[in-house]
């Protein structure tokens, strides 16, 4: 459509050009652009936090009017009937499929093909990892694991965006947050603190052991990172935010996660580049069974462990107080 056409204004092309230039926003005025006012959360919030537990759930009486309630009940009945039909149909379909699957534990099943054989027979000599699964996920399919770590990182970013409470907010709402926090979580509980004194070092040391032994025994970055993260969460519940924020604040979490992901990306890019171009690589598989063997796998496991531990910890703190 040319610009001389009288219908050019308000046409798609015109809107698109204006959108590219930045003076037209297609969703302006159609959706809520700013956060709701603080009044929504003010006194109302204290009230619902403390009264909601007492509230009964007979919502249909107080929510719906007389005529509407009838329709809603009819719709709910229909919905339940159709839901049950769909559930039973899917159950029968899947059970019918199961009856055509190969027998459980059958060595000749089609999924036990040459891929698995190749991983088992060549895995140890090519990657140096005694644990074949670790060798598979951190060497042959390392970019897949990189994507998984990035998924965790992006998920924690999204939760941060959704649940963030701004630092420079007025002290009043901070005080309300603090009061709500104390309402649900114990403060300076002696039993919890004594148990945490004993358990937290054990958990963190065990997590580090699992991460470092990922290539010679069951374990690896994901499970070890989850153990370390739960140790940190236990420490946080026992001693409160003042103690943990000395070593795990927003800056530390950001630096650790981004540093680990960047190192992972560069290390694996190097090894893929040299491998694809048949160049000499400085990374060698080493002696199988040693801690410092299996090339990059130990370092990649440490990176993944750091990312997982930071993500677990930040999920907990974000859900509890809206900030790391």
């Amino acid at each position: 459509m040319s610009k001389k056409n009288p219908n050019y204004r308000n046409s798609f092309a015109d809107k698109f050009t204006r959108w590219v230039k930045g003076d037209y926003d297609p969703i302006a005025g159609q959706m809520e652009m700013n956060a709701p006012d603080k009044e929504v959360f003010g006194d109302e919030r204290i009230r619902y936090v403390h009264l909601h537990i007492v509230k009964s759930n007979n919502y249909s009486e107080r929510m719906f009017e007389e005529g509407l309630a009838k329709n809603v009940r009819r719709f709910t009945g229909l919905y339940k009937v159709f839901g049950a039909i769909v559930a039973i149909f899917i159950a029968c379909l899947l059970l019918w499929t199961v009856s055509y699957l190969p027998k459980f534990g059958d060595p000749n099943a089609p999924e036990n093909n040459e891929v698995a054989t190749r991983y088992i027979e060549q895995g140890l000599s090519e990657t140096g990892a005694v644990n074949i699964v670790t060798g598979m996920i951190l060497d042959y399919r390392a970019f897949d694991t990189f994507g998984e770590s990035c998924v965790l990182f992006v998920a924690s970013c999204c939760v941060l965006i959704l649940l963030r409470v701004d630092k420079d907010e007025d002290p009043e709402s901070r005080a309300i947050e603090d009061m709500n926090d104390r309402h649900y979580e114990p403060r300076n509980d002696t039993i919890l603190q004594k148990v945490a004194n004993f358990l937290v070092p054990l958990m963190i040391v065990f997590g580090i052991y699992v991460v470092l032994n990922g290539h010679i025994s069951p374990g690896g970055g994901f499970s070890g990172g989850a153990i370390i993260g739960s140790g940190l969460i236990l420490y946080l519940t026992a001693y409160g935010f003042e103690k943990t924020q000395r070593f795990m604040n927003e800056k530390v979490v950001k630096a650790l996660t981004v540093g680990a992901l960047t190192f992972y990306c560069f290390a694996k890019s190097y090894s893929f580049y040299t491998g694809a171009n048949h160049l000499h690589s400085i990374i060698t598989p080493g002696t199988p069974g040693n801690i410092l063997s299996a090339g990059l796998i130990v370092y990649l496991n440490i990176c993944v462990g750091i990312v997982v531990a930071c993500t677990m910890y930040s999920f907990y703190t974000l859900f509890r107080k809206g900030g790391i």
Partner: protein, 123 residues
Amino acid sequence: MGSFATNYEEIAAVLLFVIGMSNLVFQPNLLKKIIGLDIMDSAVYLFLAAKGYIEGRTAPIVVDGILDASHYINPVPAGLVLTGIVVSVSVSALMMALTVCLYREYHTLNIDEIMMKLRKEED
């Protein structure tokens, strides 16, 4: 009916999947819906782990230098389950964060009540 009588693990996975799905469909509470989705995830892991198992073989960790494929189970499903666990953790966290936002806005976790309030706002 083929191997219906021997595939107990797969049958358990299917039943778990349907239980999780009915939770997702029938529960009006958003948190219980998320729990239902997590049960469905667990059913998929159980199915994958059952498909990787081979009768009479050990876990794929090389012991005593035996590098024979007829000695270990299939390592591929283990890697797939790992991917699934990571994605399900991320998805659960994201959905729970969205639920917290909805609760702050509408002061309820019931999806029907939220829909009613939304419709009233639109009118």
